[in-house]
Assembly symmetry: C2
Homo-oligomer: 339 residues x 2
């Protein structure tokens, strides 16, 4: 079989052997409150800045995931990580004490899927056995970097999304050890439909999600009915509706199988939230706190996780540029034994 570009079907068993989710105050009061591993109070978590607080979250997520898999840092072959902050400092400072061989990634809010896909590919070679994928975001750090300082008190548009204060880590191992396997992946392409409004990231990212989902379904000759859940990362209400429209044009209706991390993370009555949650930590939290648990417990069996990322910066936006986006997909299967 000639593979389509960017689509990988793994021939070795790659199992999820541990996962952990860390949540901030707002996130720990939402629908996921019973699933989160570690709650952090306030905004600073005992650190002196929002950025250092984000680093701490990543570190806690990694340590917790290792604990749950009964592993220590010196047993991990490689760590794959990134975040939204300039130069990915959430990652660089959060992971520096762990001394694990490191692959720095930038996928914006797609990082949870990107890091799992890249880690899985490394495991597929047989050259590494145990990896960690981790990402995070922090509302206060993201607001002042991408939009306005919190003190400015700017009003938020109805299309805007709320950057989650959260982190998630996934430990992958080669072999038949647990009940969740990464079976396939699809690398996203950079897609730009010309959306320029940074208060409407969902609209900017929906075309990337559509492109990746269509490519994967076509290549695998599967339909939505072959999956229990198609989970997008952070399109929110506006982006999800646009995704439905884009897929309708291709004759694909995912409505019955679709959920979006940005719509699962917060109480929908919370008026701060507008179109939904966002941030690399949003899909990381929903995926690590809830979805992997449902796969482990057999409630879900076949899941497509499509995390989307907006690839602009504050400067590119100020220079009048549109917002390119990317969506990386992983296909996870819950089964007693890999086959």
């Amino acid at each position: 079989m000639k593979l389509k570009r960017g689509i990988f079907h793994f021939k070795t068993p790659i199992c999820v052997s541990g996962f952990a989710a860390v949540a901030g105050q707002k996130e720990s009061k939402g629908p996921l409150k019973d699933d989160v591993d570690v709650f952090l109070k306030g905004r600073f978590f005992g650190e002196k800045s929002f950025e250092k607080a984000e680093s701490k979250m990543q570190q806690i997520a990694v340590i917790k995931a290792m604990q749950k898999a009964n592993l220590t840092a010196d047993e991990i072959d490689a760590i794959f990580a990134g975040d939204l902050l300039n130069q990915c400092i959430g990652t660089n400072y959060g992971l520096r004490e762990l001394e694990i061989p490191f692959v720095g990634l930038y996928g914006a809010c797609s990082t949870m899927a990107e890091s799992i896909l890249v880690a899985s590919t490394f495991i597929e070679t047989g050259l590494v056995k145990k990896t960690i994928s981790v990402t995070s975001s922090h509302f206060c750090a993201a607001e002042r970097q991408f939009r306005f300082p919190l003190e400015y008190g700017g009003q938020r548009k109805r299309t805007a999304q709320w950057t989650a204060t959260a982190a998630g880590a996934v430990l992958l191992e080669s072999g038949n050890k647990k009940k969740i396997y990464v079976k396939s992946g699809c690398l996203g392409k950079i897609i730009d439909f010309g959306v320029k409004d940074i208060s409407n990231m969902g609209a900017a990212m929906a075309p990337a999600a559509s492109d990746t989902i269509i490519r994967f379904l076509e290549e695998t000759k599967t339909t939505c009915n072959d999956y229990d859940l198609i989970l997008t990362g952070d399109l929110g209400r506006v982006g999800s509706d646009l995704l439905y429209e884009l897929l309708d044009q291709k004759g694909v209706n995912i409505r019955a199988k679709h959920k979006d991390c940005g719509l699962l993370i917060y109480d929908r009555n919370d008026k701060d939230i507008n179109s939904g949650g966002s941030g690399a930590g949003c899909s990381a939290l929903v995926f690590c706190a809830n979805i992997l648990k449902q796969l482990e417990e057999g409630i879900l069996k076949k899941v497509l996780f499509v995390a989307t990322g907006a690839l602009m910066s504050k400067r590119s936006n100020q220079q009048g540029e549109s917002i390119p986006a990317v969506a990386h997909l992983i296909y996870l299967k819950g089964e007693e034994k890999w086959n």
Copy 2:
């Protein structure tokens, strides 16, 4: 053989089938002037901002590398890229028109080696056949982002390095097609020796280079004498001297085999340069314009390329943080046929 963590010896032939280097005005007047593929005049290259100019460089480097390998964008299975700009916009905007499955990386000035190492690992799986690795930097974009706007006219310290305006792209293919092969790689760990001076990146990065080189030599049971060249990326004069000291403490003397990209890129009499060149484009340019050519022509046979990256941001520095660094290594061999 039990592999040490983060060290990969590739079992399939991964050949360099094309490479291209793009240089700005200052870089095209230096020692590499006869080797560069594309020279760009001025600072803007016909674009409206430094950042857009950097994107253009990446795009030109990729297109040129594909031309030299007689390939088009739709034949490339995946592209691995990143740069120094916030949210890697040099990459995101430079590559969006190419529609190639995309892995965004953040390795700062280590990106050339990181992107080749990750691409090689993907090829090792057999799931991709043709990849591109690319990175860039732009002096003006980096100065205003990390230090001061150029108009400020600040004086530069003697330990400071000059961010290169350049881009380099490397096309890898599986199979026995050309004369240069990526044989091994060593992922860097995040290393932080507590250096806080952002005008002395060489000192911040030397410990990471030392760690990676020692780990690789120990694991492969080789010495400096087994290689024709150990090429570090962007330590400059200060960092190179510190690297020698650190390696001396481990009983390793690389002086006779060592060169640094930061010391090869510019005329050493140019008084702007101080400790040497830097930026993701610096090692990319030296590697793609000169080193790969020497491997192709058989002048060099065995090269360790160790690109170093400083993982701080302007904000982490303003918050009093030290500068963590990473150094990724690839081992390249020039040979008629892979074996």
